[in-house]
Each structure stands twice: as C-alpha cells, then as structure tokens.
C-alpha cells in the first residue's frame, strides 16, 4: 500500500507569539492508502487538533503535511478549500444544516465544493444507508443515528479519497454506534481510506493502525 498521508515534524501552536500554547507536535506519521487509522487519546491530548490539520480545516505552525499531491503546509485558504472538497469529514455532532432537508444536506456535500451532483445519486446513497424513506425529512426530526448516517452520506456524495471522522459515535446510543461502526468498516473494506479520532477503544478492533496521543504528541503507534 502506498503512503497517502505524510506527516513530518508537524506542530500546531495557539495563543500569541509571546505566549504560544502547544496543541500538537512535533508529530510524524504516515498513513497508507486504503487503511483504517484510529487516533486514540484522552481529552486535550491533541487528537482532534491533529485531525483538523489533516482535514485542512486548520493550518500547521511548522513541519510538512502532505496528503496525496496536496502540500497542506504550503496551501493558502483557497487551496485548502479545494482540498476539503476532495475529502469527506464527519463530526461528532453531525453538523447538518438545519435549514435544509435530508437530501439537500447530502447534496450540499458536493455543491459546497463547487461540484454538481444528481439528485438521484443523493437519494440512492440515502437508500443505501436505510434513509430512502426520509430523504425529504426535516433533519431536526431525525434521530442521532439517522443524522450521523446522513452526515456519512454527505461525506461520501463527492466520492472522497479519504474519510476523516471526529468522534463519529460520541453522541450515539449503543445500537446506532454499532450501525455506524459497521458502515465505516464496510466503507474501508471497499477501499476508502479512513482516519478516525475517538475515545472508543472498540474501534481498535477494526483499525489497521492505532495511534495513541498524549499532550499533543504520539506516544504509541501500532
């Protein structure tokens, strides 16, 4: 398997120049194409910050971060936006747009990046994840599990190269958690690269790589 994500001595500092606060780093790691990587760690360990850097939602302070052909450490906001349109992201609290219905939320996953997509593709995707009967529903009426499946559909509509997941089961009940876990495992089996941040050690069972973080640094790689 070839390396898809290369992280080399990456750091991220917040605060002011006089009083910088370290969030991440320096960290180095490689993630292979088609792998399932789980980043574990306690609150404040820097795992979500690292994920934000990998997603291009935030900029590194130093170091080199390359995803595929995109050098994120040298990208401006426009290039980062383009990079984000090629990946999929799912969040702990779904982050669906409350003004749009279910299918519109899914389609926005493609539209926001400037790509057109067919309505039918969105409906088919929802049907695949057992939401075909609710494609016109107001997202406020969906359960937590349904919302997360809509978020997964939204992340997949643009045929991403990588799926980044930030605590995707953190707000779900056990049944929904299992559903999402199975979906992600299935997606990875079909070739999709997945990078997930979680507290949940159960994901370690389906992961190819497990990275443990503490105080912004990688303390263990398996």
């Amino acid at each position: 398997m070839s390396v898809l994500i290369s992280v080399d001595n990456v750091t991220k500092y917040y605060g002011t120049r006089k009083n910088p606060i370290k969030a991440v780093g320096p960290v180095s790691l490689n993630i292979n194409q088609g792998s399932f990587t789980v980043i574990l760690g306690r609150s404040g360990s820097g795992k979500s910050t690292l994920l934000n850097l990998l997603c291009g939602l935030d900029k590194v302070t130093s170091g080199e971060l390359v995803v595929g052909s995109d050098k994120l450490n040298e990208s401006n906001s426009k290039k980062l936006a383009k990079y984000r349109s090629k990946i999929g992201i799912i969040f702990q609290f779904y982050n669906l747009l409350p003004n749009l219905n279910t299918v519109e939320n899914v389609m926005m996953g493609s539209w926001a990046g400037g790509k057109s997509t067919s309505y039918q593709k969105a409906v088919d995707l929802l049907t695949k994840f057992n939401l075909g009967h609710r494609f016109k529903a107001d997202v406020k009426t969906l359960s937590g599990g349904e919302k997360q499946r809509v978020a997964i559909c939204r992340a997949l509509i643009g045929d991403p190269e990588i799926l980044f997941c930030d605590e995707p089961t953190g707000a779900l009940d056990t049944s929904s958690e299992t559903q999402v876990k199975d979906i992600l495992a299935e997606l990875n089996k079909s070739g999709l690269t997945i990078v997930m941040v979680t507290h949940n050690p159960e994901f370690a069972g389906i992961a190819d790589n497990i990275i443990n973080m503490s105080d912004g640094e990688i303390i263990d790689k398996q």
Binding site: K78, A81, I89, L97, L100
Partner: protein
C-alpha cells in the same frame, strides 16, 4: 459553491426568517417609497400639466420680433435690443415660407366704442370721451379742487358708459381666438368679413349682452351694432431700426369720430370664462388700418409695422421645430408654452429632488439597521459557515451568501417601496378626482385647461434607478458583515455553540 446551492441557502434562510427580512428591509422600503412616490407624483402631475398646456392654443403660439443685432432668444439678451418693425407684407412672407404656420398677426391694441340702444342717435362717443378728458386736464392744470375734478370725472364717465360701451379687441390671430373659445362659440366659425365682428357676450364688467337687451349669447348672432374706433394701434415705420430711447410712434388718439356698422357674425359665451377665457371682440386687421388712418390722416398705414407679432402654428408637436427654424432665420422668438413647460418641469424636478432627500435620509439610516441585522445573522450562523467551509466552500462563497442575503433585503425593500408608492400614488390620484368632482368651481377651472386628473408615472428608468439605489445601499451595508463571515476560521466556528 454552485450557484444553485447559493440560491437554495438563500431561499431557505428567507423562508425561515422572513419576518426578520421584512423588518430589516423596512428602512429601504420607506426610502424607496419616498423617492418613487415623490418622483412618480411629480412626473404624473407635471405630465398632466404639460398635456393640459399642450391642449391649449397657447401651445401653438410663438411670439416673434426682429432685432438689429439678430438675437434669436431672450436668453441671449444682455441689454435692451433695437427692434425692426415688421410690415404686413413681412408677416405674409412668414405664412408663405413655413408650412406649419397658419397665421401671423401683430400684437397691437385697438379699442372702440359700441353705442347702446339707449344712446342718443346723435351722440359721438369718441368726441364725448375727448371732451371729458380735456375737461379733466384743464381742471388739473388750473389747480382746481381735486374733489370737484373727481366728481366731474365720475359724472362724465357715468354718462359715457350709459351710452357707449368701451370694447377691447383681441390681438390674437383669428385661429388662436377661435381655438381658445370654440367650446363656447355661437355663429360662423370662420374669420369675420370686412363688415363683421365676433363679440363676447359678457365681456367682463362691460356686460355687453345685457346692455344690448339680449339674454342668451346665441341671440346676439346676426345683430347689427354701430362702433366708433377709439384708439389706433401702435405702429412703427416699417424697416426702421428703433432705439429704445426713441420709440416714437404715430399718434394713437383718434380725434374724429366715424360710425361703422357691423354685423355680429359669432358670439363667445364668456359668462363662465375660466383663466384662459376671452373677454375680447375680434375684428379683421383692416380695422387696425382704418383706426390708424383716422388718427393719422396724412400717413399711409402700409408703410408701418409692428414690433411684436404672434405666429400661430398647426400643432404643438411642431412647436420646437418651428421655433428652431424661426431662430435660424434670425427671428427673436418666445414660446410661452415652452417657457411654462420648462418652468413646470424644472419646478417639479427640484420639488421631487428635495422630497427625495427625505428618502435618501431613510436609506442612509437603514444602512445601520441592515449592518446590525447582517452581523447578527453572521454570529447566528457561524456553525453553518464552518460546515460549509469544511465541505469545501471558499471564502468567496461565504462572502457571496451574505452579500446575496443583503441584496435580497434590497430587492424586498424595493418591491415593498414601489408597491406602496404605487398604491398611495393612485389613492392620491383618486382623492384628487373626488375632490374636484365635488367642487364645481375648481372643476370648471381645471376642465377649462383640460386638467381633470393625473396618473402617477413609473417610467422604466425610475423603476430600474430605484432598484439600483436600493441594491447599492444594501450591498454596501452587507459588505462588512459578509467579509467578517468569509474570514471565519472553520475550526473556531465549528467549535462554537
């Protein structure tokens, strides 16, 4: 972001927050309402007045003169010009040269007396008038008691008015005279012949019909009256340059009376004459020459002419073209209609601009409201901004979302403002019609000048211009919040609750 997704976000935002949109666009609505209402009313009233003016014979009338220096417009005159009188032949040449010109006539006064049925057959009104003036002059010269002089004058005037009605003759062209009075016209509708006259019925305070014992205007037609020419027109030596300090004219006082019998060929009922009504008689130009000869027996009238003359054209639509042609031929011209229309248009433009300033003040005030609402919207929708950015939306996309939103405020405010202006404008128009219908006095005066209603005017440039103004104000108001929204860090806003 795709354009359709921008529109979708905007549509959903509007349908869910329409109350806020309406409130936020209130300032724009008031501003656009004030600007379009005042402008549309000004245009509507101004158009109605211009149409009314153009429907009057005055819109087909041009005053012409000739100056030594060839000035063609009163705007060019810095000092009193030297005039060259136009003879009767010169006036005929103008009629022959310009196909649009129907008639040209001198502007010159002529007065005559009409002997009443009660008058002594031997009375000579002109002589009686001269005697009375001479008596007054000698008393004043002798330093007599002013009260006695006044009493004598009043007594003389009473005696004169009992037997002799003093009549003014219109200085209009016949066509102009007919056009001005055709709705109140009885009798022949053509220029009176040599021994004919067109009479007014009431003639202002003269009460002509009553003095002749006639109750209805139409009963005057065909009656014979005897006139005495009282005052000759002011004529100047044809072709001679007149200096303003030496404006000599042959004598206008007629010293010898002459009875002329005329038949009334037509009558103008001026009982309810409006502001454009006529209180004058009309006779042919030959009587001007007769009067001139009576006052100046040794002079030939055909050698004399007039400084001021009136050209009457076929249609007001040719007015500008004929004025231009006359000016090219070095005539000093003045169209009262053109001047009034220019004044009306300018007046309403100034009025509209002044009132529109109130609208602009409302628009400026609304800017702060829109900035406020848009800033609140940005703060409320931080999570949405973060999600869209996480999905690949660029800063420019987020900027456009909020700019579209503020533009929508402008369009809503414009639509409401225009609709309100149209509704109130038409309501005012309706009230105006109701008011004049319930007041016969006002109605008669306005109908006499063909002004009985007006319609607020919303030309395309007013609609597009007000939309542009509305969009400029709202887009400018939305720029700062839109920039603020587009610069949001996605991580920060996704973290926010």
């Amino acid at each position: 972001m795709t354009f359709s997704s921008l529109l979708l976000v905007l549509k959903r935002q509007f349908t869910q927050k329409w109350g806020r949109f309406l409130l936020a666009s209130g300032g724009i609505m008031i501003g656009i309402w004030a600007i379009t209402l005042t402008t549309s009313l000004s245009l509507g009233v101004s158009d109605a007045i211009i149409d009314a003016i153009n429907s009057q014979p005055i819109a087909r009338e041009i005053s012409i003169s000739v100056t030594e220096s060839g000035q063609t417009s009163y705007d060019q005159i810095n000092e009193t010009p030297k005039f060259i009188p136009l003879s009767e032949g010169d006036l005929q040449e103008i009629v022959d040269k310009y196909p649009e010109v129907l008639e040209v006539s001198p502007v010159s006064r002529l007065n005559f007396f009409v002997q009443t049925p009660a008058a002594d057959k031997n009375i000579k009104c002109v002589e009686k008038n001269l005697e009375m003036q001479a008596q007054l002059a000698s008393q004043a010269q002798a330093g007599g008691d002013v009260q006695v002089s006044t009493a004598n004058m009043e007594s003389g005037a009473e005696s004169l008015s009992k037997d002799c009605l003093n009549i003014n003759v219109s200085s209009n062209t016949f066509k102009r005279f007919y056009e001005s009075n055709r709705t109140n016209w009885y009798g022949k509708q053509e220029e009176p012949a040599k021994n004919e006259v067109v009479a007014c019925f009431k003639c202002g305070s003269t009460q002509f019909g009553e003095a002749l014992g006639v109750e209805k205007p139409e009963d005057l037609v065909g009656k014979k009256i005897t006139i005495e020419l009282q005052r000759a027109p002011e004529l100047y030596e044809g072709g001679k340059v007149l200096d303003v300090l030496d404006f000599n004219t042959p004598d206008t006082e007629i010293k010898e009376s002459k009875d002329i019998e005329l038949t009334i060929s037509a009558v103008v009922d001026d009982t309810d004459a409006g502001i454009f009504g006529s209180n004058n008689f009309y006779v042919g130009y030959n009587y001007f020459q007769d009067a001139f000869k009576l006052a100046n027996p040794d002079l030939n009238p055909s050698n004399y002419g007039t400084v001021q003359n009136t050209v009457f054209i076929d249609s007001y639509q040719n007015l500008d073209a004929v004025v231009d042609d006359l000016r090219n031929d070095k005539f000093l011209t003045l169209s009262i209609a053109q001047e009034i229309i220019k004044g009306v248009s300018t007046g309403f433009l100034v009025l509209s601009a002044a009132l529109s300033m109130l609208g602009f003040i409302a628009l400026v005030a609304s800017v702060f409201g829109i900035i406020n609402v848009m800033t609140i919207s940005v703060l409320e929708r931080q999570k949405e901004i973060g999600v869209l950015k996480s999905l690949g939306a660029r800063d420019g996309d987020i900027f456009r979302i909020f700019l579209f939103e503020s533009s929508l405020l402008g369009i809503i405010g414009w639509l409401l403002g225009i609709s309100l202006a149209a509704a109130i404008g038409n309501l005012l128009s309706f009230i105006f019609v109701q008011v004049i219908e319930n007041d016969p006095g006002i109605r008669a005066n306005l109908e006499s000048i063909n002004l009985s209603s007006f319609t607020p005017s919303f030309p395309w440039w007013l609609l597009l211009g007000s939309l542009a103004i509305s969009l400029v104000f709202t887009v400018l108001s939305g720029v700062f919040p839109a920039i603020k929204a587009s610069k949001q860090n996605p991580v920060d806003v996704l973290r926010s609750e």
